[in-house]
Symmetry: C2
Subunit: 297 residues, 2 copies
């Protein structure tokens, strides 16, 4: 399979799992929350996190069946964070992936609850023995814990609060690095690490390499995202260009200049790829790292 | 121990666990989210759900140590739902338990994130082996799943969306029963059932009796709450009297009349108590049921 074929394959598996997880017999009584959750969860997107979980699991000798529920759960957590980030009291965005944001379509109250529901459903999904009963209970607990820690106050939510509080203020490069590592890095790291755990590979060397790859990849990806907000094309980017500056966000290009940012993206990507040199088969993950920062897709 | 002594004892254990769970080394970098989470989680409250988990666990032969992390997690889920319910886009309430609501003190963005953080922390807490490593992995998974299902789209969040969508509309008694069973009943049922599971008692008779007790208790409690919104005293109730009618909420007294509601509270309480007749020691749970609907505390 080529890189894009494999990504499409993983995307299809993720979207099937999301469709299944976000349906219920209770839709007859209160359909709007399920519609709102599916609207955002199935609105396209690269499905980067699920791809990392499935690929790390595969490379470590696990099966797709073991990885899919956790891959879908990661995407539910990611989606809920976008819905809440877009709310009027947060970034107040009208567009996401080229479509009206959740609260623009369903109203604020339903958008808040749809976000809550997606976060909760992530845990329901990985704790359901119908999905994960084929794994040892200890493995499910360990991987679920990894997800919970990455998405909480000491992970993604910590990054979101730092982001809000630094709006319109000058912050240092170190603070911006911490903010981005928490806000987007933690979940990307969890995606890679969970893949290894689910395949039964929890030795410190394996998890350390996966973490190092994901940490570098996550930061490269974020800097590239900041660059696209300046240099990008709205038809590919899916949201208005220049919205970071408009929202008073401190970005890497603003702190370091665009030339240095392009260099840094290259360095971080090379570091990511180097971290996997002792991994059994890492061609797809190497290609993925290069692909994610080229963005000619 | 008397009823109130035991409730105080359980409350203290819950609040110690909450204080511990909502602290972090990361407070030095972004203190506001931890402050906001503790503000609402440690603002008093009856701690009914934790008391049910600890007491059902005790009655079924388990230890307090086994029950406390799940009791605290339940309270985090309950607290997050109150923070999000109070938001301007939801019920738009300024007071909760006699104090300004979370968004009034910390702003809307932080309140949304503090709610998210509390929900997430509930799962972090029960999945952390430092808290629950003394239990078999299968037991942790089963109890955590019980929590996740009760608080999700097919449980509490389902009730919240029904509540929002029925505002200002006429709904039937059956619909109101379903709404309340989901919105408040599911979490109360999970509190009782989790206590049994944590003590290693997962036979259908035990879980069925615990569910029946909690289902009747939850509904009685809700009807009593509706009555207090009409007949209550703001200094005891902690929020403005008459706010249900003002918010266009359909309540049991509006549908059935206050006289029938008082009768129903009595019947449901008696049913709750009767459900436990084969339980080993149920004096505290009997007293608790009577106490909760007397509200002379």
């Amino acid at each position: 399979m080529t890189l894009t074929e494999r990504l499409d394959f993983y995307r299809k598996l993720t979207e099937d799992a999301l469709t299944h997880a976000l349906s219920s017999e209770n839709e007859q009584y209160y359909p709007s929350i399920f519609k709102a959750a599916r609207y955002s969860a199935l609105s396209g997107g690269k499905r980067l996190r699920p791809a990392l979980t499935m690929e790390f699991c595969r490379v470590c000798g696990g099966t797709l069946e073991q990885a899919v529920p956790f891959a879908a759960a990661l995407e539910m957590v990611h989606t809920y964070s976008l819905i809440h980030d877009d709310l009027p009291c947060m970034d107040d965005d009208d567009l996401r992936r080229g479509r009206p944001t959740n609260h623009k379509v369903f109203g604020e109250a339903t958008a808040v609850l749809a976000g809550d529901a997606l976060l909760n459903r992530a845990f329901e999904t990985v704790l359901d023995p119908e999905n994960t009963g084929n794994l040892p209970a200890e493995t499910v607990l360990r991987a679920a814990r990894c997800l919970a820690e990455a998405s909480g106050m000491d992970g993604m939510i910590g990054g979101q609060i730092m982001d809000i509080e630094s709006e319109g203020r000058q912050i240092s490069q170190e603070t911006l690095m911490l903010l981005q590592r928490l806000k987007t890095g933690c979940l990307i790291k969890a995606a890679a690490v969970m893949g290894c755990i689910l395949a039964g590979r929890s030795d410190p060397e394996t998890l350390g390499a996966a973490e190092c790859y994901a940490d570098n990849l996550g930061l490269a990806f974020q800097i590239e995202d900041d660059l696209l907000d300046i240099e990008g094309d709205i038809t590919k980017f899916g949201k208005p260009i220049g919205s970071d500056a408009e929202n008073g966000k401190v970005t890497f290009p603003a702190l370091l200049g665009t030339a240095r940012c392009h260099e840094l993206v290259r360095e971080l990507t090379d570091n990511a790829i180097a971290a996997l040199r002792d991994f059994p088969a890492h061609a797809f993950l190497d290609d993925l790292a290069n692909y994610l920062v080229s963005r000619d897709y």
